[in-house]
Symmetry: C2
Subunit: 206 residues, 2 copies
Amino acid sequence: MCAATVPDIIIGRLPLYLRALSKMASEGNEITSSQELGARLGISSAQIRKDLSQFGEFGKQGTGYNIEFLIDQLRRILHVHQVWDVVLIGAGDLGKAIAHYGGFLDRGFQIVAVFDNDPKKVGQAVGKFTVKDTKTMIEEIQDKKIRVAMLAVPASEAQGIADELVKAGVLAILSYAPTSLKVPEGVRIQYIDPVLHLQRMTYYLP
Amino acid sequence: MCAATVPDIIIGRLPLYLRALSKMASEGNEITSSQELGARLGISSAQIRKDLSQFGEFGKQGTGYNIEFLIDQLRRILHVHQVWDVVLIGAGDLGKAIAHYGGFLDRGFQIVAVFDNDPKKVGQAVGKFTVKDTKTMIEEIQDKKIRVAMLAVPASEAQGIADELVKAGVLAILSYAPTSLKVPEGVRIQYIDPVLHLQRMTYYLP
Protein backbone atom coordinates (compact mmCIF):
# COMPACT_ATOMS: atom_id res chain seq x y z
CA MET A 1 0.00 0.00 0.00
CA CYS A 2 1.25 3.47 -0.82
CA ALA A 3 2.36 5.16 2.40
CA ALA A 4 0.45 8.33 1.51
CA THR A 5 -2.84 6.49 1.91
CA VAL A 6 -2.25 5.17 5.43
CA PRO A 7 -4.79 6.75 7.80
CA ASP A 8 -3.36 9.36 10.15
CA ILE A 9 -4.74 7.49 13.14
CA ILE A 10 -2.34 4.65 12.31
CA ILE A 11 0.57 7.08 11.86
CA GLY A 12 -0.28 8.41 15.31
CA ARG A 13 0.25 4.97 16.84
CA LEU A 14 3.66 4.33 15.25
CA PRO A 15 5.54 6.66 17.66
CA LEU A 16 3.95 4.74 20.55
CA TYR A 17 5.20 1.46 19.09
CA LEU A 18 8.65 2.97 18.58
CA ARG A 19 8.80 4.25 22.15
CA ALA A 20 7.71 0.91 23.62
CA LEU A 21 10.14 -1.03 21.43
CA SER A 22 13.00 1.28 22.42
CA LYS A 23 12.14 0.64 26.07
CA MET A 24 12.16 -3.12 25.42
CA ALA A 25 15.55 -2.85 23.71
CA SER A 26 16.95 -0.81 26.61
CA GLU A 27 15.79 -3.60 28.92
CA GLY A 28 17.88 -6.05 26.92
CA ASN A 29 15.14 -7.76 24.89
CA GLU A 30 15.77 -8.84 21.31
CA ILE A 31 12.48 -10.36 20.21
CA THR A 32 8.89 -9.38 20.90
CA SER A 33 5.41 -10.21 19.70
CA SER A 34 2.34 -8.18 18.84
CA GLN A 35 0.79 -9.68 21.99
CA GLU A 36 3.59 -8.44 24.26
CA LEU A 37 3.72 -5.04 22.59
CA GLY A 38 -0.06 -4.79 22.79
CA ALA A 39 -0.08 -5.66 26.49
CA ARG A 40 2.42 -2.86 27.20
CA LEU A 41 0.42 -0.32 25.26
CA GLY A 42 -3.14 -1.39 25.93
CA ILE A 43 -3.72 -1.92 22.21
CA SER A 44 -4.95 -5.21 20.73
CA SER A 45 -2.36 -7.42 19.05
CA ALA A 46 -4.59 -7.61 15.97
CA GLN A 47 -4.53 -3.81 15.70
CA ILE A 48 -0.74 -3.73 15.96
CA ARG A 49 -0.31 -6.41 13.28
CA LYS A 50 -2.78 -4.59 11.04
CA ASP A 51 -1.04 -1.23 11.56
CA LEU A 52 2.44 -2.61 10.83
CA SER A 53 1.22 -4.59 7.82
CA GLN A 54 0.51 -1.26 6.11
CA PHE A 55 4.25 -0.83 5.73
CA GLY A 56 5.51 -4.33 4.97
CA GLU A 57 6.22 -7.67 6.54
CA PHE A 58 8.16 -7.11 9.77
CA GLY A 59 7.70 -10.40 11.60
CA LYS A 60 7.04 -14.02 10.88
CA GLN A 61 4.11 -16.00 12.21
CA GLY A 62 5.39 -17.83 15.31
CA THR A 63 8.78 -16.10 15.58
CA GLY A 64 7.68 -12.58 16.46
CA TYR A 65 9.45 -9.31 15.72
CA ASN A 66 13.16 -8.60 15.90
CA ILE A 67 13.10 -5.49 18.10
CA GLU A 68 16.16 -3.71 16.69
CA PHE A 69 15.02 -4.33 13.13
CA LEU A 70 11.51 -3.05 13.84
CA ILE A 71 12.93 0.03 15.62
CA ASP A 72 15.08 0.75 12.60
CA GLN A 73 12.14 0.32 10.23
CA LEU A 74 9.84 2.52 12.30
CA ARG A 75 12.53 5.22 12.51
CA ARG A 76 12.76 5.19 8.72
CA ILE A 77 8.99 5.26 8.27
CA LEU A 78 8.66 8.20 10.69
CA HIS A 79 11.74 9.93 9.21
CA VAL A 80 13.53 10.00 12.55
CA HIS A 81 16.51 7.90 11.47
CA GLN A 82 17.84 11.41 10.87
CA VAL A 83 17.93 14.20 13.47
CA TRP A 84 15.67 17.18 12.79
CA ASP A 85 16.76 20.67 13.80
CA VAL A 86 14.02 22.35 15.79
CA VAL A 87 13.45 25.97 16.75
CA LEU A 88 11.71 26.76 20.02
CA ILE A 89 9.75 29.98 20.28
CA GLY A 90 8.97 31.20 23.76
CA ALA A 91 11.44 31.36 26.66
CA GLY A 92 8.95 31.58 29.52
CA ASP A 93 8.52 28.84 32.13
CA LEU A 94 7.29 26.33 29.58
CA GLY A 95 9.91 27.21 26.98
CA LYS A 96 12.62 26.83 29.61
CA ALA A 97 11.28 23.44 30.61
CA ILE A 98 11.27 22.31 26.96
CA ALA A 99 14.80 23.66 26.39
CA HIS A 100 16.04 21.69 29.40
CA TYR A 101 14.31 18.45 28.38
CA GLY A 102 16.91 15.82 27.57
CA GLY A 103 14.74 13.35 25.70
CA PHE A 104 14.74 14.80 22.20
CA LEU A 105 18.07 13.90 20.63
CA ASP A 106 17.95 10.11 20.71
CA ARG A 107 14.42 10.22 19.32
CA GLY A 108 15.17 12.32 16.25
CA PHE A 109 15.12 15.97 17.30
CA GLN A 110 17.47 18.67 18.55
CA ILE A 111 16.62 22.20 19.50
CA VAL A 112 19.06 24.51 17.73
CA ALA A 113 17.73 27.94 18.72
CA VAL A 114 15.37 29.56 21.23
CA PHE A 115 13.55 32.79 20.37
CA ASP A 116 11.44 35.25 22.34
CA ASN A 117 10.10 38.72 21.59
CA ASP A 118 10.48 39.95 25.17
CA PRO A 119 13.55 42.28 25.35
CA LYS A 120 14.05 41.15 28.96
CA LYS A 121 14.46 37.53 27.84
CA VAL A 122 16.54 38.13 24.71
CA GLY A 123 20.22 37.55 25.49
CA GLN A 124 19.50 35.46 28.58
CA ALA A 125 20.77 31.90 28.92
CA VAL A 126 18.19 29.12 28.79
CA GLY A 127 19.83 25.74 29.18
CA LYS A 128 22.70 25.78 26.69
CA PHE A 129 21.03 28.41 24.53
CA THR A 130 21.13 32.17 24.46
CA VAL A 131 17.64 33.48 23.77
CA LYS A 132 17.46 35.28 20.43
CA ASP A 133 15.10 38.01 19.28
CA THR A 134 12.18 36.73 17.19
CA LYS A 135 13.05 39.51 14.73
CA THR A 136 15.94 37.33 13.56
CA MET A 137 13.83 34.16 13.51
CA ILE A 138 12.75 34.05 9.87
CA GLU A 139 16.29 34.63 8.62
CA GLU A 140 17.79 31.92 10.82
CA ILE A 141 15.11 29.38 9.89
CA GLN A 142 15.64 30.11 6.20
CA ASP A 143 19.45 29.99 6.48
CA LYS A 144 19.44 26.68 8.34
CA LYS A 145 16.50 25.27 6.37
CA ILE A 146 14.70 24.37 9.60
CA ARG A 147 11.38 22.58 9.09
CA VAL A 148 10.20 21.87 12.65
CA ALA A 149 9.18 24.33 15.37
CA MET A 150 7.82 24.19 18.89
CA LEU A 151 5.61 27.01 20.04
CA ALA A 152 5.47 27.89 23.74
CA VAL A 153 4.02 31.38 23.54
CA PRO A 154 0.79 32.92 24.91
CA ALA A 155 -2.37 32.05 22.97
CA SER A 156 -2.70 35.67 21.85
CA GLU A 157 0.65 35.57 20.05
CA ALA A 158 0.56 32.04 18.66
CA GLN A 159 -1.12 32.70 15.31
CA GLY A 160 1.19 35.60 14.45
CA ILE A 161 4.28 33.53 15.23
CA ALA A 162 2.88 30.51 13.37
CA ASP A 163 2.36 32.68 10.29
CA GLU A 164 5.99 33.81 10.42
CA LEU A 165 7.23 30.26 10.89
CA VAL A 166 5.29 29.10 7.85
CA LYS A 167 6.60 32.03 5.84
CA ALA A 168 10.15 31.01 6.80
CA GLY A 169 9.61 27.45 5.57
CA VAL A 170 8.59 25.53 8.69
CA LEU A 171 6.45 22.50 7.80
CA ALA A 172 5.64 21.06 11.23
CA ILE A 173 4.57 22.99 14.34
CA LEU A 174 4.00 21.57 17.79
CA SER A 175 1.99 24.14 19.73
CA TYR A 176 1.55 24.30 23.49
CA ALA A 177 -0.64 27.41 23.17
CA PRO A 178 -4.23 26.61 24.15
CA THR A 179 -5.75 27.77 20.89
CA SER A 180 -6.40 26.36 17.43
CA LEU A 181 -4.12 27.73 14.74
CA LYS A 182 -4.67 28.05 11.02
CA VAL A 183 -1.85 26.81 8.81
CA PRO A 184 -1.84 26.34 5.05
CA GLU A 185 -2.26 22.98 3.34
CA GLY A 186 0.97 21.00 3.52
CA VAL A 187 1.96 22.34 6.95
CA ARG A 188 1.35 19.93 9.84
CA ILE A 189 0.28 21.09 13.27
CA GLN A 190 -0.08 19.22 16.53
CA TYR A 191 -1.23 20.51 19.90
CA ILE A 192 -0.34 19.60 23.44
CA ASP A 193 -3.36 20.25 25.62
CA PRO A 194 -3.29 18.74 29.12
CA VAL A 195 -7.06 19.11 29.53
CA LEU A 196 -7.74 16.64 26.71
CA HIS A 197 -5.80 14.03 28.66
CA LEU A 198 -7.45 14.90 31.98
CA GLN A 199 -10.96 14.66 30.49
CA ARG A 200 -10.11 11.33 28.91
CA MET A 201 -9.43 10.01 32.41
CA THR A 202 -12.30 11.60 34.35
CA TYR A 203 -14.70 9.70 32.07
CA TYR A 204 -13.66 6.59 33.98
CA LEU A 205 -13.76 8.10 37.47
CA PRO A 206 -16.69 7.39 39.78
CA MET B 1 -24.79 0.31 24.71
CA CYS B 2 -23.36 0.23 28.21
CA ALA B 3 -20.88 3.08 28.62
CA ALA B 4 -18.30 0.75 30.17
CA THR B 5 -17.94 -1.08 26.87
CA VAL B 6 -17.18 1.98 24.73
CA PRO B 7 -13.65 1.63 23.32
CA ASP B 8 -11.10 3.97 24.89
CA ILE B 9 -10.15 5.30 21.46
CA ILE B 10 -13.66 6.76 21.22
CA ILE B 11 -13.44 8.22 24.73
CA GLY B 12 -10.20 9.86 23.63
CA ARG B 13 -12.01 11.71 20.85
CA LEU B 14 -14.81 13.11 23.03
CA PRO B 15 -12.61 15.83 24.62
CA LEU B 16 -11.68 16.95 21.09
CA TYR B 17 -15.35 17.23 20.18
CA LEU B 18 -16.04 19.13 23.39
CA ARG B 19 -13.19 21.57 22.75
CA ALA B 20 -14.27 22.22 19.16
CA LEU B 21 -17.93 22.65 20.17
CA SER B 22 -16.94 25.09 22.94
CA LYS B 23 -14.98 27.09 20.37
CA MET B 24 -18.01 27.10 18.05
CA ALA B 25 -20.23 28.28 20.92
CA SER B 26 -17.76 31.05 21.80
CA GLU B 27 -17.94 32.17 18.17
CA GLY B 28 -21.69 32.57 18.52
CA ASN B 29 -22.86 29.44 16.73
CA GLU B 30 -25.92 27.52 17.96
CA ILE B 31 -26.22 24.59 15.54
CA THR B 32 -23.61 22.41 13.90
CA SER B 33 -23.39 19.21 11.91
CA SER B 34 -21.12 16.18 12.00
CA GLN B 35 -19.75 17.45 8.65
CA GLU B 36 -18.82 20.86 10.06
CA LEU B 37 -17.37 19.40 13.26
CA GLY B 38 -15.47 16.82 11.23
CA ALA B 39 -14.01 19.46 8.94
CA ARG B 40 -12.68 21.39 11.94
CA LEU B 41 -11.13 18.31 13.47
CA GLY B 42 -9.97 16.39 10.42
CA ILE B 43 -12.20 13.46 11.43
CA SER B 44 -14.84 11.97 9.12
CA SER B 45 -18.46 12.91 9.80
CA ALA B 46 -19.38 9.22 9.81
CA GLN B 47 -16.85 8.61 12.60
CA ILE B 48 -18.26 11.47 14.66
CA ARG B 49 -21.85 10.24 14.26
CA LYS B 50 -20.77 6.71 15.15
CA ASP B 51 -18.82 7.89 18.21
CA LEU B 52 -21.69 10.01 19.53
CA SER B 53 -24.27 7.29 18.84
CA GLN B 54 -22.56 5.20 21.53
CA PHE B 55 -24.05 7.54 24.10
CA GLY B 56 -27.50 8.32 22.72
CA GLU B 57 -29.29 10.32 20.09
CA PHE B 58 -27.92 13.89 20.13
CA GLY B 59 -29.03 15.23 16.76
CA LYS B 60 -31.71 14.72 14.20
CA GLN B 61 -31.15 13.82 10.57
CA GLY B 62 -31.25 17.07 8.64
CA THR B 63 -31.32 19.47 11.60
CA GLY B 64 -27.85 18.85 13.03
CA TYR B 65 -26.70 19.20 16.63
CA ASN B 66 -27.67 21.89 19.11
CA ILE B 67 -24.21 22.99 20.24
CA GLU B 68 -25.04 23.95 23.84
CA PHE B 69 -26.99 20.74 24.36
CA LEU B 70 -24.19 18.60 22.97
CA ILE B 71 -21.61 20.47 25.09
CA ASP B 72 -23.71 19.78 28.17
CA GLN B 73 -24.08 16.11 27.29
CA LEU B 74 -20.37 15.65 26.58
CA ARG B 75 -19.49 17.38 29.87
CA ARG B 76 -21.73 14.92 31.70
CA ILE B 77 -20.33 11.92 29.83
CA LEU B 78 -16.75 13.02 30.59
CA HIS B 79 -17.68 13.95 34.18
CA VAL B 80 -16.52 17.54 33.73
CA HIS B 81 -19.89 19.16 34.44
CA GLN B 82 -18.29 19.25 37.89
CA VAL B 83 -14.88 20.78 38.71
CA TRP B 84 -12.19 18.33 39.82
CA ASP B 85 -9.62 19.39 42.39
CA VAL B 86 -6.13 18.62 41.11
CA VAL B 87 -2.76 18.45 42.87
CA LEU B 88 0.36 19.40 40.95
CA ILE B 89 3.62 17.78 41.96
CA GLY B 90 6.78 19.51 40.79
CA ALA B 91 7.46 23.24 40.99
CA GLY B 92 10.27 23.46 38.45
CA ASP B 93 9.98 25.29 35.13
CA LEU B 94 7.29 22.95 33.85
CA GLY B 95 5.34 22.90 37.11
CA LYS B 96 5.39 26.70 37.18
CA ALA B 97 4.10 26.84 33.62
CA ILE B 98 1.27 24.45 34.50
CA ALA B 99 0.41 26.38 37.66
CA HIS B 100 0.17 29.60 35.64
CA TYR B 101 -1.96 28.07 32.89
CA GLY B 102 -5.39 29.67 32.89
CA GLY B 103 -7.26 27.14 30.80
CA PHE B 104 -8.20 24.51 33.38
CA LEU B 105 -11.16 25.89 35.34
CA ASP B 106 -13.72 26.34 32.59
CA ARG B 107 -12.94 22.83 31.34
CA GLY B 108 -13.50 20.99 34.59
CA PHE B 109 -10.29 21.23 36.63
CA GLN B 110 -8.69 23.45 39.25
CA ILE B 111 -5.27 23.06 40.79
CA VAL B 112 -5.65 23.27 44.57
CA ALA B 113 -2.10 22.61 45.74
CA VAL B 114 1.47 22.47 44.41
CA PHE B 115 4.07 20.19 46.00
CA ASP B 116 7.82 19.77 45.64
CA ASN B 117 10.44 17.88 47.61
CA ASP B 118 13.16 20.49 47.06
CA PRO B 119 13.61 22.49 50.30
CA LYS B 120 14.61 25.50 48.19
CA LYS B 121 11.24 25.45 46.43
CA VAL B 122 9.03 24.67 49.42
CA GLY B 123 7.48 27.89 50.73
CA GLN B 124 8.03 29.79 47.50
CA ALA B 125 5.15 31.36 45.60
CA VAL B 126 4.20 29.78 42.27
CA GLY B 127 1.31 31.60 40.68
CA LYS B 128 -1.29 31.92 43.43
CA PHE B 129 0.11 28.92 45.30
CA THR B 130 2.71 28.48 48.00
CA VAL B 131 4.73 25.36 47.25
CA LYS B 132 4.22 22.70 49.91
CA ASP B 133 6.51 19.89 50.98
CA THR B 134 5.68 16.53 49.40
CA LYS B 135 5.91 15.10 52.93
CA THR B 136 2.48 16.59 53.57
CA MET B 137 1.08 15.47 50.21
CA ILE B 138 -0.58 12.18 51.18
CA GLU B 139 -2.36 13.74 54.13
CA GLU B 140 -3.70 16.66 52.11
CA ILE B 141 -4.88 14.43 49.28
CA GLN B 142 -6.66 12.16 51.73
CA ASP B 143 -8.20 15.05 53.67
CA LYS B 144 -9.51 16.75 50.53
CA LYS B 145 -10.37 13.47 48.79
CA ILE B 146 -8.45 14.53 45.69
CA ARG B 147 -8.60 12.08 42.81
CA VAL B 148 -6.62 13.80 40.05
CA ALA B 149 -2.90 14.66 39.94
CA MET B 150 -0.45 16.18 37.49
CA LEU B 151 3.13 15.06 37.68
CA ALA B 152 5.90 17.43 36.55
CA VAL B 153 8.90 15.82 38.24
CA PRO B 154 12.12 14.29 36.86
CA ALA B 155 11.77 10.80 35.38
CA SER B 156 13.86 9.35 38.19
CA GLU B 157 11.35 10.50 40.82
CA ALA B 158 8.11 9.89 38.95
CA GLN B 159 7.42 6.29 39.98
CA GLY B 160 8.01 6.98 43.67
CA ILE B 161 5.66 9.96 43.63
CA ALA B 162 3.07 8.05 41.60
CA ASP B 163 3.10 5.27 44.20
CA GLU B 164 2.44 7.79 46.96
CA LEU B 165 -0.35 9.44 44.99
CA VAL B 166 -2.06 6.10 44.46
CA LYS B 167 -1.67 5.28 48.16
CA ALA B 168 -3.35 8.57 48.99
CA GLY B 169 -6.35 7.77 46.79
CA VAL B 170 -5.53 9.45 43.47
CA LEU B 171 -7.27 7.69 40.56
CA ALA B 172 -6.03 9.69 37.57
CA ILE B 173 -2.46 10.86 36.89
CA LEU B 174 -1.30 13.02 34.03
CA SER B 175 2.46 12.62 33.81
CA TYR B 176 4.88 14.91 31.97
CA ALA B 177 7.83 12.74 33.03
CA PRO B 178 9.34 10.99 30.01
CA THR B 179 8.99 7.49 31.43
CA SER B 180 6.33 4.80 31.66
CA LEU B 181 4.83 4.37 35.11
CA LYS B 182 3.20 1.36 36.70
CA VAL B 183 -0.11 1.98 38.44
CA PRO B 184 -2.56 -0.57 39.81
CA GLU B 185 -5.73 -1.64 38.02
CA GLY B 186 -8.41 1.01 38.39
CA VAL B 187 -5.96 3.94 38.30
CA ARG B 188 -5.79 5.82 35.01
CA ILE B 189 -2.59 7.30 33.66
CA GLN B 190 -1.93 9.54 30.68
CA TYR B 191 1.36 10.90 29.42
CA ILE B 192 2.32 14.10 27.69
CA ASP B 193 5.29 13.39 25.46
CA PRO B 194 6.16 16.05 22.87
CA VAL B 195 8.25 13.60 20.84
CA LEU B 196 5.20 11.47 20.01
CA HIS B 197 3.63 14.53 18.40
CA LEU B 198 6.82 15.53 16.59
CA GLN B 199 7.29 12.05 15.12
CA ARG B 200 3.69 11.96 14.00
CA MET B 201 4.44 15.04 11.89
CA THR B 202 7.86 14.15 10.50
CA TYR B 203 6.27 11.09 8.87
CA TYR B 204 4.70 13.55 6.44
CA LEU B 205 7.77 15.69 5.84
CA PRO B 206 9.81 15.30 2.66
